[in-house]
Each structure stands twice: as structure tokens, then as C-alpha cells.
């Protein structure tokens, strides 16, 4: 068993549980600060300290195991500065991000955001890339962001890093990333109804026939 402190009260919980499971073990009904339970949605941001250690740790409640001496608080939402923009009327220019989020220029490279990130993203580096107008780099470095908001709650320059990151990725996706010609061609073919006959044959086929067709299908690697 592990002793953890939640809301100033000490409890004993089985030490193989995640923080989220431990809270439920204690009878908490989680309505906020819970989501996919698999480390992908970023809803269960948690901060904690270990007894006798000055450091403030961060993690996702669904992906962090409890440890003896943990003092836990959940951050169910992170108040964020979120600009509304029409991506179609933006341009991917060096100052595009700065115009929407001028506070990016307040970054002093203290790296606190990077220390806080449960995804081990180089958060400061992508903010810095955004500052110097390198949208592609900001998009690449922020790719694994799940928008849990821990960076923004810790930032002494009050930047909302995760919204800067997603803006960079949207600009990159729309204006900078190379276009896949094959995909455009295939979408056009679908729109022109190239596959409709075959599809309607399949939807009308009996279960028996479908099983036969499935067994006899041509695999791509065989084709090659």
C-alpha cells in the first residue's frame, strides 16, 4: 500500500494503481479532469510533490502511478488565452503567430514549460521557433502535444503554449506541408463514382459471398 495525500487528507491505496484509479478507489466520482484514461486526451492534468522534496512534479493522472508520500492536486481545466481566427484568411508568414499571440515575445527561455510537460516535448524550443517565425519547426516540435495545459499554468511569461502549438500545426498543415497528389487524385475518383459499382455489389452480397470474397482478396504486398 502507498500513503498519498489528497485534498489535505492522508489515505492508503494499493501501490499498483494510477493516480486516477486511486482517486476512484477512495470513492471519488470523477466528472472533470478525466477523459480517455489512456494518456491521449490531456484532461487529467495533475500536479504533485513528494514528501521531503522541493520539486513540483506534473503528470497525467491516468498515466502516473501513485507513490508513497505523494501530495496530489488535480488541475481539471487550464484557463487559456485562445484567439479565434479563420485559418483560410491567415498566411503562413514569420509574424503570423506573433500577431495572434504577441505574448510569445515575452518568453525568457526559462524552460519551465518544458520541465512541466508530461509528454516530454521541448515546449520552450517550439515557443522560440514560433518567436522567430519558424512555423514548420514549431509544428514539428509540438506534434505530440495533448493540450493538457500544464505548460501554460507554469509559464512566468503567461503564454498559452499549447494554443501557439496548434496554430503552428494548423498553419503548417494548410500552407507549408507538401500536398499529396495521389490523395487528391483518389478523392476525385471517389467523387466521380469510380468505386460505386463495386461498393454496391458488396453491400448487396450475402454473408457467404462476403466471406468468400474476403478470403480471396488480393493483398497489397502480394500485388507488389
Amino acid at each position: 500500500m502507498a500513503r498519498i495525500i489528497v485534498a489535505n487528507t492522508e489515505y492508503k491505496v494499493p501501490s499498483n494503481l494510477t493516480i486516477m484509479k486511486a482517486l476512484e478507489y477512495l470513492g471519488w466520482r470523477l466528472k472533470r479532469g478525466v477523459g480517455c484514461r489512456g494518456g491521449f486526451c490531456g484532461a487529467c492534468s495533475t500536479i504533485y510533490r513528494m514528501k521531503g522534496d522541493h520539486k513540483l512534479y506534473t503528470g497525467l493522472a491516468c498515466a502516473t502511478k501513485v507513490e508513497d508520500g505523494m501530495i496530489i492536486a488535480q488541475i481539471p481545466i487550464s484557463p487559456a488565452n485562445k484567439k479565434s481566427y479563420n485559418i483560410d484568411s491567415l498566411k503562413a508568414q514569420p509574424n503570423t503567430i506573433l500577431e495572434l499571440y504577441p505574448e510569445v515575445a515575452r518568453c525568457i527561455s526559462c524552460n519551465t514549460c518544458t520541465k512541466a510537460c508530461p509528454q516530454d516535448i521541448q515546449v520552450m524550443d517550439y515557443v522560440q521557433a514560433a518567436l522567430r517565425g519558424d512555423i514548420a519547426k514549431a509544428a514539428e516540435l509540438s506534434f505530440d502535444c495533448i493540450m493538457c495545459g500544464l505548460c501554460a499554468t507554469r509559464c512566468p511569461a503567461e503564454i498559452t503554449q499549447f494554443n501557439v502549438g496548434i496554430l503552428a500545426r494548423r498553419l503548417y498543415g494548410k500552407y507549408i506541408a507538401p500536398k499529396y497528389k495521389q490523395l487528391e487524385k483518389r478523392v476525385k475518383e471517389i467523387e466521380q463514382g469510380k468505386f460505386e459499382d463495386e461498393l454496391s455489389k458488396l453491400t448487396k452480397a450475402s454473408k457467404q459471398k462476403l466471406v468468400e470474397l474476403y478470403a480471396a482478396r488480393v493483398r497489397e504486398e502480394v500485388k507488389r
Partner: protein, 306 residues
């Protein structure tokens, strides 16, 4: 064999001053030195933090020292005067104040400890100390003959004394020596070490226009054709604010403001179309054509054919 040196471009060299960056790379390659851009770097801090009790502002420059070491170098060269000033002064503070150094290292605990063992150089430093102007002279194929060039240092290359790239702060000569090496004619002016107005340009552009009138006006009285700078902010102020100067001083006529790397590239025979002159408010091309330093090859050939 090409010598390699760690290179810190700075944010402005990636946007507004991108031709300062590209021309620096071209000329240094020509001189046998490859500028290796740090694989990770952050803003230098923009302005050196003078508040003695605020170490936050020293984190950005010192972190770039750690990046330099991570890239396997113990020297880092930069082209922007502002970056040079901020990096070099923070590095000096770190070396001279053990207590502050320890506190900075403690805060950056995720990075390896920095021990103050990086040297910060400005590209002009590198040219003077390592490359030598004689070597520059030997690479000149299009000497800037007849071009009257006013060197402009501004503040950040020279002040404070500890980080000055020239021993003589009041009357520096590095840029003049470079101009001689390029075959040009230096026009030294008392205003060459005056401040351009720096970031006040954001708050009060008329104040900076007044500075521009004094500085550029004085240099044009000495019949300077062009002004040579090493700082993107000085370039911006002295170039763009000429727009506002006309209202202050009707007798004023425009003088182009160029980076030393652009003139080096021109003198080394690089096509002028690659130098970024199209980004300048005051176009340097007419005066360079007038002095015969830019020749339109096709037109000349066509004339000969006639």
C-alpha cells in the same frame, strides 16, 4: 580544409535580416570557414538585463552557451550586434560572479552545468583575429573602388568596454579597415558611434527619425554614398526612418544602409540580386550602379552587339 565554428544567427537573422544571415554564410564559406548553426538555440534575450536582482533575463543567453557546448564547440560566433552584446555580457557576468552562476545552474537543473567556458565572438572579431583582413582582400574580385562608405558602429559592438570588439571605443577602426580591404573608401564621421535610438523606434518613431536625421545627415554632408552597419535594428532604424526624416529636414536626401556582409559579398563577386537589396527601404542599387560596381551583363552584351 574548411574550419568549422558554431554559429548563433539570432531571431532577426531568420526573418527581417535574413539576407544578413545568407550573405554572412556565403562570404565565410569563401574565406574557408563554415558557420555551423546550433541545432537548438533560443532568443538571445534581446537586451542585456541590467536589473541586478533579476536573473531570469540571464537564462536565455546562458542557455545558448550550453547549446554551444552540446554541439561540441567552445566558441560561438554571431552576426547581430544586439545578440553579440547580450550573449557576451551575460557570459561575462557568469564568469565573474560565482554566486549568480551557481543560482543560474541550479535553476536550469535539467541542463548540464555551465562553467563559463564558452567564448562569444562577433563575426567582425573572427575576421580581425582569425581570418585577417589581408585574406579578405585576397578574395576581392569586384573592389568597391570609388564607393564612399560611412562605417556605423552604433553602441552594442563597443559598449561596455569589457565586450568591445575594438580597443578604441571612442574612435574604432575595424569597419574602416574592412572597407579598405574591400577596396572602398571609408568616410569616418563623429556620429559613427552614436546610438540610433534602438527600441524607442516602437514607442516613438519621430524620436528615432530625429536620430536618423542627425546620423545619416552628418554622413551625407561628408559625401558618403552608403552606410555600412552590423546590426539589424540599426539597419531598420536608419533605413526605414528616413521616410519620416524628409518632414524634419527638407534638404535631406536618402542614403542606403547596408550590412557589412552584403558589401563583402558584393566585393567578392556575388551576384547583387542575391544580396537582398530589394528588401531595403532606400535602394542601394542606383548608387552601386553609378559607381560601376553593378553591371547588367546582358545589357552590356547587347550594346556591344549593336
Amino acid at each position: 580544409m574548411t574550419e568549422k565554428i558554431a554559429y548563433y544567427p539570432g531571431c532577426t537573422a531568420k526573418s527581417y535580416a535574413k539576407y544578413m544571415d545568407s550573405t554572412a554564410r556565403i562570404v565565410m564559406k569563401e574565406l574557408g570557414i563554415e558557420l555551423v548553426e546550433l541545432d537548438r538555440w533560443n532568443c538571445c534575450g534581446t537586451v542585456y538585463g541590467l536589473a541586478d536582482d533579476n536573473l531570469y533575463s540571464q537564462l536565455a543567453p546562458i542557455r545558448n552557451m550550453i547549446r554551444t557546448l552540446e554541439n561540441g564547440f567552445d566558441e560561438v560566433v554571431t552576426i547581430c550586434s544586439m545578440c553579440y552584446n547580450t550573449l557576451a555580457r551575460a557570459n561575462d557576468l557568469f564568469k565573474s560572479d560565482k554566486e549568480k552562476a551557481d543560482r543560474l545552474n541550479a535553476f536550469m537543473y535539467k541542463e548540464p552545468d555551465y562553467e563559463g567556458n564558452v567564448t562569444v565572438l562577433h563575426l567582425l572579431d573572427l575576421l580581425v583575429k582569425r581570418v585577417k583582413f589581408q585574406a579578405v582582400k585576397e578574395k576581392v574580385t569586384n573592389p568597391l573602388k570609388g564607393l564612399k562608405i560611412a562605417p556605423y558602429y552604433g553602441c552594442t559592438l563597443l559598449r561596455p568596454r569589457e565586450i568591445s570588439i575594438d580597443e578604441n571605443i571612442e574612435h574604432p577602426s575595424i569597419l574602416s579597415e574592412l572597407i579598405f580591404a574591400l577596396g572602398g573608401e571609408p568616410v569616418e564621421d563623429p556620429y559613427m558611434t552614436e546610438c540610433c535610438g534602438s527600441y524607442l523606434t516602437v514607442k516613438d518613431k519621430h524620436l528615432v527619425a530625429d536620430r536618423t536625421n542627425k546620423i545619416v545627415g552628418s554622413m551625407q554632408k561628408r559625401s558618403a554614398d552608403i552606410i555600412m552597419v552590423s546590426c539589424p535594428l540599426c539597419q531598420f532604424n536608419l533605413d526605414r526612418r528616413q521616410k519620416e526624416v524628409k518632414a524634419l529636414n527638407p534638404a535631406f536626401h536618402k542614403v542606403p544602409i547596408v550590412y557589412f556582409t552584403q558589401l563583402m559579398a558584393l566585393a567578392m563577386g556575388v551576384d547583387y540580386k542575391k544580396l537582398g537589396f530589394q528588401d531595403h527601404y532606400v535602394d542601394p542599387v542606383p548608387i552601386l550602379k553609378k559607381r560601376g560596381l553593378i553591371r547588367e551583363k546582358k545589357k552590356v552584351a547587347a550594346k556591344i552587339a549593336k
